[in-house]
């Protein structure tokens, strides 16, 4: 009986944890005090224009209340809307495609359990050329490989879990891997740090940079957004710590750090 019900339907409680590990809140909640979680509105400025995270609460008109589980799975796995149109990869489906079927089902169960909000999503504000969604099809053909994470049997369970947390759920590379002129991540510089112009940047996460920190220091940073000597993280990473890394179980945090330690060291990019 128990086995059947688990199989038939996702577990919303587990799904809540997956939503945290996936950092969904950040882009899908407006930056305001007392904002409704997951009701959308966060602006993401990119060289291609400004994207707004949409309302993903189960409201039938304003949110995704009319979606089926299959619609949800297709959105994250294939980067497609229920009507078949492509999502812009500002929605990090190149990472989320790696999420396992079981995790997607649990995540869907959690999304269904949220209180619906009628907040209207705003349209994206994109540069002239980038407005056509069919061009995203070409982009996907060039840069996107759909399919769930396949653990490497040659690696330990801990390293596989860490890799899954970093590459699939955490989508760390969306900021920490530099992109080419078409906005696709440079695979040779995976997690090697990226600059976004005007001084903002994301750190190199390979041992070149993180090797200077002990495990304890690194974990404390990922739990509290502070180092033991009282240094405070920049605001955007502090938010990730609050929403995601600070919410992970101790085992998952260990796995995440172990995986980062196992990365090939990449030199800092030239200034």
């Amino acid at each position: 009986m128990l086995a059947t019900s688990c199989f038939a339907q996702g577990d919303a409680k587990r799904g809540e944890y997956i939503a945290k590990a996936g950092g969904c809140l950040g882009c899908h909640t407006v930056e305001k005090d007392k904002a409704v979680p997951y009701a959308g509105g966060r602006a993401l400025k990119t060289p291609f224009g400004t994207f707004y995270g949409p309302n993903i609460t189960p409201h039938p008109q304003a949110g995704i209340g009319r979606w089926s589980e299959a619609d949800f799975v297709r959105a994250l796995r294939e980067g497609r809307r229920p009507d078949g149109a492509h999502y812009f990869p500002a929605f990090p489906y190149p990472s989320f495609t790696l999420i396992t079927d079981a995790d997607l089902r649990d995540l869907w169960a959690y999304m269904r359990s949220l209180p619906p909000s009628s907040r209207q999503s705003e349209p994206h504000d994109l540069g002239f050329l980038y407005r056509w969604r069919f061009l995203v099809g070409i982009w996907k053909w060039l840069f996107f490989t759909p399919g769930p994470f396949a653990p490497d049997p040659g690696q330990s369970a801990v390293l596989n879990r860490g890799k899954y947390l970093v590459t699939a759920l955490g989508h760390c590379g969306e900021c920490h891997t530099p992109r080419n002129f078409l906005g696709a991540p440079k695979k040779s510089r995976f997690l090697g740090g990226a600059k976004f112009g005007k001084g903002t940047a994301a750190s190199n996460l390979t041992p070149t940079r993180l090797g200077k920190q002990g495990d304890g220091e690194l974990k404390e940073f990922l739990r509290t957004a502070m180092t033991p000597d009282g240094d405070v993280a920049a605001a955007s990473m502090a938010e990730v710590v609050q929403n995601t890394t600070g919410q992970l179980t101790p085992q998952d945090l260990d796995a995440l750090v172990a995986y980062l330690r196992s990365l090939p060291p990449l030199p800092e990019e030239g200034k």
Binding site: G193, K198, G199, T200, A201, A202, S203, R209, T224, A225, M226, T227, P228, D229, G230, D231, V232, A233, A234, A235, S236, A238
Partner: protein
């Protein structure tokens, strides 16, 4: 009358000296000094954050009060070290945006002083709930400024 004039003269000379003194300090020394301030801010913010977040137990209102008072004073000290002469210097993570977006930088430095003063107040009043609220406000200003004006490490 003569005495007043003389005093005024002395005041002008002394004021002038104080004003130019800073300009004559070597840029690399200014960088070192402001980094020392940042390090000490970390030293005193650390225990406050640790106790306010419950990571360090037990909560010690005396330690928090003392640290917050030091922090409040330190929060006023770094800013004149961000002199134009230090722009593009070595051994610093300060970004040139500090000078190209001066108004924003000044606003954040002012906000740090306001928020740490409030933290000092609640800490000295031994208001634990107030500290737990206010330490987060201070951390937010630290992070906001590091976001735009410090090179990512």
């Amino acid at each position: 009358m003569k005495k007043t004039l003389l005093a005024a003269g002395v005041a002008i000379v002394v004021g002038g000296v104080a004003g130019t003194a800073l300009a004559q300090v070597k840029p690399e020394v200014l960088v070192k000094q402001r980094q020392a301030v940042m390090t000490l801010q970390g030293k005193y913010f650390g225990p406050i954050a640790g106790m306010a977040s419950g990571k360090v137990t037990p909560y010690n209102a005396d330690v928090v009060s003392r640290s917050a008072t030091y922090l409040e004073n330190l929060a006023q000290m770094a800013w004149d070290g961000f002199h134009e002469s230090t722009k593009g210097g070595k051994n610093t993570n300060a970004l040139p945006e500090i000078w190209s977006q001066k108004a924003k930088f000044d606003e954040l430095s002012q906000r740090l002083q306001t928020e740490t003063a409030k933290l000092g107040e609640v800490a000295r009043a031994k208001d634990e709930a107030g500290v737990k609220r206010q330490y987060a406000a201070v951390g937010k200003v630290c992070g906001a400024c590091h976001e735009s004006f410090r090179q990512k490490l």
